[in-house]
């Protein structure tokens, strides 16, 4: 009975201990390497990844190979020109993204029998990936920058979607307001405002909701805050579900949802190509979401480096020290909430316009946790990592799990219903990443240091019970 926990553990040393400690052992060995050995190891690992990808499909392998090769090539760029080095990888990714609809039609669409992944993401999937990327970048501001765990982010998504639905559908049929809506006849009842205006309006309204939720709750300690946001995330969809007779007023049309929502007008671009077949709806929606994602990422990066962003990071790292340095805690946290909510609202409105509908059932806690796992997988605090995590998980959710399950069943003769395990898989991803690599796949250097060296994150009002 007199043994302490530590001694007892060392004495016992169960069989699984060695396996459990393997990642730590690898990390120790990697740290013991010198720079040259690390460089060589990096080359070998990357080469192996690319060779592995060739077995899946060559366009994917080529893309990853270019991404891997660029940093090595850039090392040889001479002095005055290397100041542009940091723009090279984003430019390549951006170019591929911009031309993706063309690459897809001409090359990828016909490759439907790819090993493991089955098929490449369709344009519809890419739109959804983009919407989730926006939401994940928005959540990253709250969770990654400011370090406030938000488990009710879906409330902001719902708010954005319903804003689009209210002001661009026949929901309020007793009004007849038209402003800039494209493809809606002037005699259609209801409020019809252009989706592009509504994106901004949805963002602003959602930011206000974020402030309203934040003001009373942001004083709370981290885990309490998480639960309160979760509560709000559950209340809002229930209001949407029961909102078909709020004191006799039909606000949300209840479980039947609001549909159809007007499509956004993309303008007539045929004069650019001379034919009407180039500008399909899917392509336009894809380019639309791409522009929104770029704006979101740009704002997020600039915000991170702004005075406000540095205040967020200061609060995340040590609330007490930040307060002592004169950072106004409540105001800064509320801004993080409002900004994160803004992007969630814009993404929600665009998604609603893409699906042309919104239902209360779309806004379950699972979506909040899904977006959170994107942020965690990619790397809390790093915008690029978060975008990658969002694109990857949204692809898995949208078509990947089904096609991967299909190809596994074909190869091994099993009959697994992989999508049935989707939330188990997300849970496994969350747990594994938090245990083995809490800084995410593509971490920001700063966040990584926090997780490995340990930064005091005891909040100002914390007390030991």
């Amino acid at each position: 009975m007199a043994k302490t926990g530590k001694v007892a553990d060392e004495v016992r040393d169960p069989w699984y201990r060695r396996w459990a400690e393997l990642p730590g052992e690898w990390r120790r060995r990697y740290r013991a390497l010198d720079d040259r050995q690390r460089f060589q190891m990096g080359v070998v690992v990357r080469a192996l990844v690319v060779i592995g990808l060739i077995f899946i499909d060559w366009p994917l392998a080529l893309f990853v190979a270019v991404l891997f090769a660029v940093p090595y090539a850039l090392a040889y760029v001479p002095q005055p020109w290397n100041r542009f080095n940091r723009f090279v990888t984003p430019t390549i990714v951006l170019l591929v993204a911009l031309t993706y609809p063309l690459i897809y039609t001409n090359l990828l669409e016909s490759r439907t029998n790819v090993t493991l992944i089955g098929a490449y993401p369709t344009l519809g999937t890419m739109v959804i990936m983009g919407v989730y990327a926006m939401m994940a970048v928005g959540l990253n501001i709250v969770v990654g920058y400011a370090g406030l765990l938000d488990l009710g982010y879906v409330a902001f998504y719902a708010m954005g979607a319903y804003t689009a639905a209210w002001f661009a559908s026949v929901q309020f049929a007793h009004r007849n307001v038209h402003f800039g809506a494209v493809g809606v006849s002037g005699s259609t009842p209801g409020i019809h405002i252009s989706i592009w205006i509504l994106l901004v309006l949805a963002g602003i309204l959602t930011a206000f909701v974020g402030i309203i939720i934040g003001l009373p709750t942001l004083r709370l300690r981290g885990d309490y805050l998480a639960i309160v946001t979760l509560g709000f995330g559950e209340i809002l969809p229930q209001v949407a579900r029961n909102g078909d007779s709020l004191g006799g007023f039909n606000l949300t049309n209840g479980p039947n949802g609001i549909t159809p929502i007007d499509p956004p007008g993309f303008g007539n671009l045929n004069f650019l190509t001379g034919s009407g077949t180039f500008w399909t709806s899917d392509r336009l929606f894809f380019w639309g979401v791409l522009v929104l994602v770029i704006i979101t990422v740009f704002c997020s990066l600039r915000l991170r480096d702004s005075r406000l962003g540095r205040a967020w990071i200061a609060i995340r790292e040590d609330e007490t020290a930040a307060a002592a340095m004169g950072v106004p805690l409540m105001r800064t946290k509320t801004w993080a909430y409002a900004t994160g909510a803004f992007f969630g609202g814009v993404a929600g409105a665009y998604f609603a316009a893409f699906k042309q509908s919104t239902f209360p059932g779309d806004f379950s806690f699972n979506i909040s946790a899904f977006i959170l796992s994107m942020v965690i997988l990619g790397g809390m605090g790093n915008v690029w990592g978060v975008v990658f995590g969002a694109a990857f998980l949204a692809f898995l959710n949208q078509q990947g799990l089904a096609t991967i399950g299909h190809s596994i069943n074909n190869s091994f003769g099993t009959s697994l219903d992989v999508p049935k395990y989707q939330f188990g898989i997300y849970g496994l991803i969350i747990v594994t990443v938090m245990l083995l690599r809490p800084e995410g796949l593509i971490p920001s250097a700063r966040r990584k240091a926090e997780f490995h060296e340990g930064v005091s994150d005891t909040p100002l009002y914390d007390v030991q019970a």
């Binding site: 926990g5 709750t217 639960i227 938090m434």
Partner: protein
């Protein structure tokens, strides 16, 4: 913030006015809902205690706890109904012995499950930033919920009426059944056992010491890791009891009941003062009463569509106005 306490008091006064008017208008309904609410509250209390025990010792919201409870319900269904074949026509002796066996298996299963979750997902993160174990808890909750989904299927599964269906008492034309009474009464010895365990035994003293100060407890020769494992074991066993009792109470189980009821139970624990064991039971009884009154009263009751919203609104109001809960100690963050 001078207006805040008055706002809170006004809300409480309004609540009592609403209850009073309903009592005068429909005393029969009020009476039966009071009894039903107590029954439901005791079941919630068993789950809420699991949250409170773990929070008390680790300051961690064990998000997976609700899903351990759900798997307890599943285990009860699997052992009691599918393996032992209990149903409405089983004889009294078979029901008693069968349920006792089911209870033991469910407690052991949930206790071990909860302790293994702690070992795998929380212990490696003991020194990590505070939110890290909360995030793994959410991940574990997803995994368990997926297990439940694959075992139970997406639709609710109904159980036969194993407990006797006769009426104990009729209040104003409403029947209160034997089944519900047995559920309520079975919860009491479990609570008594827990109080004895925490207050009177050596292990309970170790738990309280670890909750107060882990380092000091370790210096006094307490095996902190084992004490924490033991706490998770106890919390899981309580979830197992709650799983069986809930399955008997509602005769309907579903893979996502862990999420909804888990949050209700967590709200109860916060309402009573998280980390405070009598508080958890008191909070659960209040929440159970509020739920039953809300769904059953006729004068200006929002109805079952709003139950979840009301429970979460209570959670938010409590955390904002009185984070220490009803019985918890006042801490600076509540100031």
């Amino acid at each position: 913030m001078g207006v805040v306490p008055w706002l809170g008091r006004t809300l409480v006064v309004l609540l009592f006015v609403w209850l009073g008017v309903n009592l005068v208008k429909t005393p029969g309904d009020f009476g039966i809902l009071l009894v039903e609410g107590l029954t439901l509250g005791l079941v919630y209390g068993l789950i809420a205690l699991g949250y409170s025990l773990v929070y008390g010792i680790l300051e961690l919201i064990n998000f997976a706890h609700g899903d351990v409870f759900m798997l307890g319900s599943w285990m009860s269904l699997y052992i009691g109904v599918q393996k032992l074949g209990l149903d409405a026509s089983s004889s009294g002796a078979k029901v008693v012995s069968g349920l006792a066996l089911t209870l033991l298996v469910a407690m052991a299963f949930c206790g071990l499950l909860n302790a293994s979750i702690e070992r795998v997902a929380y212990r490696p993160l003991r020194n990590a930033p505070r939110l890290a174990p909360l995030i793994t808890a959410i991940g574990m909750s997803f995994i368990l919920q997926d297990v439940g989904l694959n075992r139970l299927g997406p639709a609710p599964v109904s159980l036969p009426n194993i407990l006797p269906t006769g009426t104990v008492v009729t209040i104003g034309g409403n029947n209160y059944g034997w089944g519900h009474l047995i559920v309520a009464v079975s919860a009491l010895p479990v609570l008594a056992l827990l109080v004895w365990l925490v207050q009177r035994t050596r292990q309970g003293r170790a738990m309280r010491a670890t909750a107060q100060d882990q380092e000091a407890a370790a210096m006094m020769g307490i095996n902190v890791n084992r004490t924490i494992s033991f706490t998770f074991l106890i919390a899981g066993a309580l979830a197992g009891v709650a799983g069986l009792l809930y399955a008997l109470y509602s005769t309907n189980i579903q893979f996502d009941q862990g999420f909804t009821l888990g949050l209700i139970a967590f709200t109860s624990a916060v309402l009573g003062g998280i980390g405070n064991l009598p508080g958890a039971v008191l909070g659960a009884i209040i929440i159970g009463l509020i739920q039953q009154f809300n769904e059953g009263l006729s004068w200006h009751a929002p109805g079952s569509d709003w139950t979840q919203s009301i429970v979460f609104a209570i959670l938010i109001l409590i955390l904002v106005f009185r984070p220490e809960g009803l019985l918890g100690e006042r801490t600076p963050e509540g100031g």
